[in-house]
Amino acid sequence: MGNWGAIYNNATYLLQVHAGKLAALQEQAASGARVNRPSDDPSDAYRILALRAQANSLQNYAENLDDVDRNLETSQDVLQQVSTSLIEVRQLTTQVISGTYGPDARGTIAEQINSILDQAFSLANTKSLGRYLFGGTKASSAPYVGERVNGRLTAVEYQGSLDNLPVPVAPGVEYPGLVIGERAFRAGERQAPLFMGETGAACGSATSNVRGSLYLTVVHNQTSYPGGTGIAAGTSSPTGDTIIGEHVLTVAVDGPNKTISLDGGAAVTFEGGEQDLAVTSAAGDVVYVNVENWAGFEGDIAISATGRLSVDGGASYTELTAFTDNVAVTDSRTGRILYVDATALLRTGVEPVRVPGTGDLFGTLIHLRDLLLNEPGLPDDQHQELMAQALEPLDEVAEVVTRAMTSLGGRLQAMDVMRESLESIQFRTGQQADMLEDADIVQVAADLARTQILYEMTMAVASKLLTLSLLDFI
């Protein structure tokens, strides 16, 4: 048996050791965690902290993913509604094309299209949680701004951003968080402009940057006559002539009958004193001539007419000084240019122009509504012809919207996969952290019982040994 000092030393040391162990086990049992501070197991603590950080980061990614998902789901709904509206517009347009609709009936349908236009405009400016969904990175201001005349939208401009908002949704993975309206509602595969009128204007060789459907207005300025024929411009010529470019007047004298014709058209009899004689060509072009100074000239007279062009409804004009193949006509409202081949320009009028691959939802609907109401004042046959072609831009826009929906659907599907993957990683991360961190409660309970017994044994043995003494037997 050792001496009392050793017994005391052993007892105090071991009681201290056991008490320390008991405290640690009690902490583990109470917290359920094996590692309560880094010093409990530094290497595991490092891993636990890293896993926790990873779990938090994954949680942030998941929140971002949810946010993007919410936005895109809503955007998808909006696109779906727009798509449905376009189908309705198409049905209405088809009715007009295939039926015999008078101006009133067309007006009614135009009103319906106008309502759909208003609805589409409102949808394109949809907000979710205070953010505009179709403005790209510019989520705090309305992406579409409309101009209204008498309460009706006459132009809609995209003022959102053309930049994506890449949102981090997983480590190293970013998804566009908002839709760029200009890409969802406007076609982006520019083709050469189509000139669909009778003015003789054609597509210039330069690349125009006007978009969608528009009207090229060709206005007459002045008709010039060569000297020596006695034929000159009539008093109504500046405003009444419909010719542009080079034309031929033919004066024929057959005895007492004197006639004048334009480009081989119907001959018009004149007496010689007329100051404002209307001569119409076979194509319907009109020129007003003054024949009061005619002194017997007979034969062809080469005349030429100048004019001016406009693509902004007459707000600004480009003077036709030369009939080149590339006359730049600028839209004063947008600064965009239509290059016109004016070499074959023959007459004034309104030339419908469409740039395939550049149409947008609003422009197309506005154009269609205005066409139904024949706001440009097109002749009936031309109007009919244009109405017959009205489905093409509509289909183009519908295809763009459908493509945007498909793309969005694909993105949403990819995000679902991403979410599953994230959740799986999150689960595994949490599991790994728990495995490292959690206390084995059964083991803790067993250790606790064992240590408690040792603690009690230490006290009992010390007490026993310190009680035993020879002194008791003296």
């Binding site: 001496n3 501070r37 705090s140 949102v167 981090p168």
Partner: protein, 655 residues
């Protein structure tokens, strides 16, 4: 005649033995007490038939001790003292980190970068902007608290060191005094065992405070000299006082009192532990944490200064108080502040123009000269107000300024084209790039076949060729490189003419804006000074999440969020979050190692103490046995004397 001397000598021996046993039992629980053993030797008193007859005497009362064991205990005690002291303090530091609970450093750091990541999903959201600012504030406050805690702990270490040093001085004085008394008694031929125990206990107590060496003084029995780190603390009867103080490099050191020559080369004991804590462990920890805070502040600020928030460009900005000296003498020069350029973009809202101006920064510049350069720009005024740089616009209705890294387009002198390029997008390259664009064949944009602009990078390599002739619609954006695109308006381009596009990866390569506190996210540059900019706290809309010209992108928010996991050279190529975890688990590692060492030392000390107790300790039972023995001896000696006396009486009666 009977010789009573024999009985008397036995009685004396038994008497003394009983006294020694009493002393032993009385000191059974006295720390440092060594059991006293008697050495009894026979004494010859007379010779009978050639045989010596005599009694007994106490030749020596010695302390039961093993010098080797005592030496080993003296050697281990300071080690345990040091480990215990270090552990106590490091455990406080570990608690201050608050890990594995909520609000620990890794938590707030993760929350900060996480909030920036979340902000990237909705950069314009006021709620998320506020969340990010408050997360930054929580991080800064955590840094401050930790910094303050370490400062307090350092002060506490200093005070504790002073207190322990007073104890050292008291102990050395006590040892010296006891040496004197021991010497006196030894010279007189006494055995001053109790005094030696007292002195040895004082030495043992001293060893708990610092590592000591003990040498016997030759020629002076029982007297010892005590040395610590080569300095004699006790020389016989005289003691040298020590003092603790701060020496070069803010290191804690020990010096002979009033000598002013501090040595930091002291290990062992609680004082050694405090010195190691202050000079090595805390210095390293402080440096690591300061580097972490400083790198986060610097890198976040370096991004933040370039961007803008929901509030857009600025009408005025004021930095923090700066030194009026040349920049080259600033402490940040060479690390976070260098020769370079920063670009300020001034927007004229009336003219609808935005012009980027390069401001060069050199070592010879002062805040005043930089302010002068800014002040010279159209639309801006700048100056030094209360030692801080202040930049403002000349007219709030007309001008705004910012530091966006917008690409800078410069037309070559004599540019005759009527179509000017406009560069769009955010440059994604890591380093600044200069693209030289050459019109290889001139003509009309959108018309001329073969109208091409060739784009070369700084290395002279062709990056791309832009076909701007037939097929290109004026105003359409064509991809350039590095995330940039360019548009050309209608007009003409002249063959052979050039323009350059300076793509900025960083609009402040000098780091001046960060150093001057202009549009920064954080203030301060260390653990204890870290704080969120007051402007940002007052107006979270100033959180610069965007660096694009439209000011609505989330590029800066993403770049700042990415910093959390970006390896940084100043953090030994670890990311801030990794570094933070390493620092925290590093402390845990030290504690764990310390605990294991403490446990091993305690176990060793227990074994040594047990061994010592077996040799030097008092076993009551053993003493009780001796008590019985000497009691019997005493009774026997008394009986002997009584018998001799009785014999003598008988003899006397015969007479």
């Amino acid at each position: 005649m009977p010789n009573f001397q024999i009985g008397l000598s036995g009685l004396r021996v038994a008497q003394r033995a009983l006294e020694i046993i009493g002393t032993n039992i009385a000191n059974a629980s006295t720390e440092g007490y060594h059991r006293q053993d008697l050495r009894i030797v026979p004494i010859s008193m007379l010779s009978v038939a050639g045989t010596s007859i005599g009694g007994a005497r106490i030749a020596e009362i010695r302390r039961a001790m093993d010098l080797l064991l005592e030496g080993e205990l003296l050697q281990q005690r300071p080690r345990l003292g040091q480990v215990t002291q270090e552990l106590l303090t490091l455990q406080s530091v570990e608690s201050a980190f608050g890990e594995f609970g909520s609000g620990g450093l890794t938590d707030v750091l993760g929350n900060f970068f996480g909030s920036l990541q979340e902000l990237a999903s909705q950069p314009g959201s006021r709620a998320l902007q506020e969340q990010a600012v408050w997360a930054a504030d929580a991080l800064a406050r955590n840094f401050q608290n930790l910094g303050q805690f370490l400062l307090d702990l350092e002060n506490h270490i200093g005070l504790e060191g002073q207190r322990l040093m007073e104890k050292v001085n008291a102990l050395t004085a006590e040892i010296a005094a006891l040496n004197g008394e021991i010497h006196t008694l030894t010279t007189r031929g006494d055995s001053p065992n109790l005094l030696m125990d007292l002195r040895d206990q004082a030495i043992s107590d001293l060893a708990e405070l610092m590592e000591v060496q003990v040498n016997q003084v030759s020629g002076q029995s029982g007297v010892v000299n005590v040395l610590a780190c080569g300095t004699p603390l006790v020389m016989g009867r005289s003691a040298t006082k020590l003092e603790l103080g701060v020496t070069v490099g803010d290191k804690l050191g020990v010096s002979v009192k009033d000598a002013g020559s501090y040595t930091t080369d002291l290990s062992g004991g609680r004082i050694g532990g405090l010195i190691a804590l202050k000079n090595d462990i805390f210095d390293d920890l402080q440096a690591d944490l300061d580097a972490l805070a400083s790198e986060i502040i610097h890198n976040i600020n370096a991004h933040h200064v370039q961007g803008v928030g929901s509030a857009g460009s600025f009408t005025s900005l004021t930095g923090w108080a700066l030194s009026p000296a040349e920049l080259g003498s600033w402490s940040a020069w060479g690390s976070h502040l260098n020769e370079g350029t920063f670009y300020v973009r001034v927007t004229d809202r009336i003219a609808g123009t935005a012009t980027s101006h390069a401001i060069s920064v050199t070592a010879a510049d002062t805040v005043q000269t930089v302010a002068g350069k800014l002040d010279a720009l159209t639309g801006l005024t700048a100056g030094v107000v209360d030692s801080a740089l202040r930049i403002a616009v000349e007219s709030e209705s007309q001008y705004r300024f910012d530091f966006l890294p917008a690409p800078i387009t410069t037309l070559q002198g004599g540019w005759s084209g009527t179509s000017n390029p406009t560069v769009l997008g955010i440059y994604t390259g890591q380093a600044e790039e200069l693209y030289t664009c050459t019109v290889t064949a001139g003509g009309t944009v959108g018309l001329t076949e073969g109208l091409v602009v060739e784009v070369r990078n700084q290395a002279g390599e062709v990056v791309t060729e832009l076909n701007l002739g037939a097929g290109y619609a004026a105003g359409d954006a064509v991809e350039l490189a590095g995330g940039l695109s360019v548009t050309f308006q209608s007009g003409t381009l002249t063959g052979g003419e050039q323009f350059t596009i300076q793509a900025l990866a960083d609009s402040d390569s000098s780091g001046f804006l960060s150093a001057a506190g202009i549009n920064t996210f954080f203030r301060g540059d260390s653990l204890v000074t870290a704080a969120v900019s007051v402007e940002l706290l007052n107006n979270p809309g100033r959180l610069a999440f965007a660096i694009g010209q439209e000011m609505s992108d989330n590029t800066n928010a993403r770049r700042m969020a990415d910093l959390g996991e970006k390896p940084l050279a100043a953090l030994s190529n670890m990311s801030p979050t990794d570094s933070c975890r390493m620092i925290i688990t590093g402390v845990g590692e030290r504690i764990s190692f310390g605990q294991s060492r403490q446990s091993s030392l305690e176990s060793m000390m227990l074994q040594l103490a047990n061994h010592r107790d077996r040799i030097s300790g008092v076993d009551i039972n053993e003493e009780a046995a001796k008590l019985l023995m000497f009691e019997k001896m005493y009774q026997a000696m008394a009986k002997l004397i009584q018998t001799q006396d009785s014999s003598l009486q008988t003899l006397m009666e015969l007479l």
